[in-house]
């Protein structure tokens, strides 16, 4: 088991700088809320798209925090960035617009991008002026990501990309997305992971059509993105042709271990604490305590992974563990709130608790699906511990 869970530990950041930063973020969030600039909601990192909010964060230096100064970044430590993002998530702030760009696109570009790509995108990401989507899934390729049918065909000076991506969150607002495509045919008996590549595709490229796919709530977050003969010049290939699987996998470690994998329902948890505090009896306190113990533990785990990701250590299996445990926790918060409070969820309710509960109930099924389903994650962990 040790091979799976052992990651280089960094003491949870208690340095003075992190403390100061945290206080600053809290003040900022209080002001924003007091000014009515946002209303806390559940799952705000998917559902809360607010570009001006993102830009106000950027103005404070809270986007692209860990990127080097030469690309406009702030050269901050991973733990500082972690503190800022978890404060934002805990407050239910609308962080969706910059989320993917800040979380994984920036680090990926830094790691695999060309100098020109970095100069083109990183400073804009840091300023909150460039937002990204992720084009991995397709109608017939969800869990089986290596089976993507989107194809890159060699042409003069670049590639022609054809295919259909689905569930592309934010594509209708974003400027560009990373597209995973097959650039070499599957070889008989060869690895399914070979022959895949990533392209950086601006969403206003000729040949790109974006259609909304409404969530069951009627909200428009994700999309179908059809690519028809989209020309991608050679300088917009990300990393190496044929190295797409490896690159995507390392992106997924960023995608799976962050605090958004256990804080999607935190605004509801906070409201639950508030409601229990108004009670004269101690009903619910034991259940609440059990939830808090889990949350505290998840955070320890996730923080350590963040620290070692920064050190360039591969974290696929630990990240899968965090996501599985974390998303299950998020769902349990919903159940606990529902059962302890006897509130009926109503999405349009003027009562905060009832509205937060409805958002959480309606978004919860997605928690254990997006970013890799629980079953797929457990398969990874099983392989990691050596039973598969």
């Amino acid at each position: 088991m040790t091979t799976v869970v052992e990651v280089p530990t960094t003491p949870a950041g208690v340095e003075a700088e992190v403390l100061r930063l945290r206080a600053e973020v809290r003040d900022f969030l209080r002001e924003e809320q007091a000014a009515g600039r946002f209303t806390p909601r559940c799952d705000a990192w998917l559902a809360g798209w607010d570009e001006s909010f993102s830009r106000r964060l950027a103005a404070r230096g809270w986007l692209g925090m860990t990127l080097p100064a030469e690309y406009g970044g702030h050269g901050r430590s991973t733990l500082e960035r972690y503190a800022v993002t978890e404060e934002l998530l805990a407050s239910g702030a609308p962080v969706a617009a910059h989320w993917f760009a800040d979380r994984q696109i920036g680090p990926s570009l830094l790691r695999y991008g060309t100098e020109a790509q970095r100069r083109r995108y990183l400073p804009a990401i840091v300023r909150g002026e460039c937002f990204f989507g992720i084009g991995m899934s397709e109608p017939d390729s969800g869990s089986d990501l290596a089976s993507v049918r989107t194809r890159g065909t060699r042409t003069e000076g670049g590639w022609l990309v054809d295919g259909t991506k689905v569930w592309t969150s934010g594509a209708h607002h974003a400027h560009a997305f990373f597209v995973l495509a097959r650039t070499a045919p599957l070889e008989e008996g060869g690895s399914r992971h070979a022959g895949l590549s990533q392209f950086v595709v601006p969403l206003d490229s000729p040949g790109v059509t974006i259609r909304p796919i409404e969530l069951l709530t009627g909200e428009h977050h994700f999309n179908e993105v059809v690519l028809e003969g989209v020309f991608v010049p050679d300088d917009m290939v990300l990393g190496e042709i044929g190295d797409g699987w490896h690159q995507v996998t390392s992106e997924l470690a960023f995608e799976r271990s962050g605090p958004e994998r256990f804080l999607s329902t935190y605004p509801l948890l906070a409201a639950l604490v508030g409601a229990l505090a108004e009670r004269t009896d101690s009903d619910g306190q034991r259940d609440l305590g059990a939830l808090l113990a889990r949350l505290w533990t998840l955070r320890q785990r996730s923080l350590r992974i963040a620290a070692s990701l920064a050190g360039g250590v591969a974290q696929e299996v630990p990240a899968a563990l965090v996501k599985d445990l974390g998303t299950r926790f998020e769902v349990e918060v919903v159940e606990a709130a529902r059962l302890l409070l006897d509130v009926e969820p109503d999405p349009g309710s003027a009562t905060t608790l009832s509205r937060l509960l409805a958002e959480a109930v309606l978004h919860a099924p997605g928690f254990t699906i997006r970013g890799g389903t629980s079953e797929i994650l457990r398969g990874l962990v099983a392989r990691g511990v050596g039973v598969r």
Binding site: D144, D342, E344, S349, P365, E375
Partner: protein, 359 residues
């Protein structure tokens, strides 16, 4: 109460199923989102379904709660956007109990706190009936009110025209109308009913939701089994993966448990009425168990459907959002569990077993 034979019951559900299958298509359900499907309601009324479980001499179509529950199971299975539970087991029953006529239009009701005070020209009703289904489209809200007097409080039923109330509009997570009905008006007449009526209404409310949930789980199971067989990943249908098989098996077990619980409670109440401890126990147990099943089953169904099930286009949501709504209506499983526990503790170590076996 006339008792139907198994054949008669099967004929009733088959007829209801025929009608609802044609009229609760995904397109139609999507079109009536947030509303009552009044066209469907008219067809159900014409076919005599809206007052099943109410004696013919009280303006109903006859049958008892067994018949009404059988019908509701079918309605739950089809996610029918009509307040059948209200017109049969709840508001319809209250009207019949009070000897009041069933209206041509819709009658609905809910839980509430309402007081009735004798005044010139009748009774002043004040209070709120909460989260009332289809109030916007209803003709009558049937209100159970307390008359505080010198002696013990008396309970009365009043048939209140919706037009004389004010509504605070709301919805459950399935988009079904759940309005708060605010009352402050004088009605010419009220009818006194027996003291246990409030308890019985609550039990009937919980039972109605249990039966609806059990019905909805049939559809959720069917859709999930079908999807697992059709969707392929890694070159195989999802149903070939053991992890998926295990989940679907759990879903099937939850659906079976929900049916056992709902059917058992219906039978118990049909036999003894709602006033016995065994009936109260059965209804509470059924509400707890069906609500648990709703949560577990909806989670599994969505997990198996992947991102596709999270879309508005996919029809799974018509059932799962209703499961999420109904499990919390007329008391969550937490409230009913508490009640079961309290009843058991009051009965003591030797008293629990008789409660469980109903004898």
């Amino acid at each position: 109460m006339t008792e139907s034979t198994q054949e008669e019951l099967a004929a009733l559900t088959a007829a209801a199923r025929d009608l609802l299958e044609d009229h609760c298509t995904p397109e139609r359900l999507a079109a009536s989102e947030g509303r009552t499907d009044l066209a469907l309601w008219a067809l159900l009324a014409e076919a005599g379904f809206t007052h099943v479980g109410i004696a013919e001499d009280a303006g109903g179509s006859g049958g008892g709660i067994v018949e009404a529950a059988a019908l509701l199971g079918v309605a739950g299975e089809h996610a029918a956007p009509v307040p059948l539970a209200e017109s049969t087991l709840l508001a319809g029953w209250l009207l019949a109990l009070a000897g009041l006529p069933q209206p041509d239009g819709l009658a609905t009701t809910g839980e509430g706190e309402v007081s009735a005070r004798p005044v010139d020209g009748g009774y002043r009703l004040q209070g709120t009936v909460r989260r009332v289904p289809a109030a916007r489209d209803a003709e009558l809200v049937v209100v159970l009110a307390r008359v505080d007097g010198d002696g013990a409080a008396r309970l009365v039923v009043a048939a209140v025209p919706v037009a004389g109330t004010s509504l605070v509009e709301g919805h459950n997570v399935a988009g079904e109308q759940r309005d708060d009905v605010l009352l402050d008006l004088v009605v010419p007449d009220v009818v006194e009913v027996r003291a246990g009526t409030a308890d019985e209404l609550r039990l009937r409310g919980a039972l109605s939701r249990s039966v609806l949930i059990a019905g909805a789980l049939d559809r959720v199971l069917r859709l999930t089994v079908r999807y697992a067989g059709e969707r392929r990943q890694f070159g195989r249908p999802l149903s070939a993966f053991q992890a998926v098989q295990q989940q679907v098996a759990l879903l099937a077990a939850e659906a079976a448990a929900a049916h056992a619980a709902a059917d058992g409670a219906v039978e118990q109440c049909a036999r003894d009425g709602f006033a016995t401890p065994a009936s109260a126990f059965a209804v509470a147990a059924a509400k707890v168990r069906t609500a648990q099943a709703a949560s577990t089953a909806a989670a599994i169904a969505h997990q198996v459907h992947g991102a596709l099930g999270m879309t508005r286009e996919h029809s799974l949501r018509f059932s799962t959002t209703r499961l999420w709504a109904w499990r919390s209506e007329w008391g969550s499983e937490a409230q009913w569990s508490q009640q079961l526990g309290r009843t058991a503790v009051a009965a003591g170590a030797d008293g629990v077993w008789p409660l469980l076996v109903g004898a």
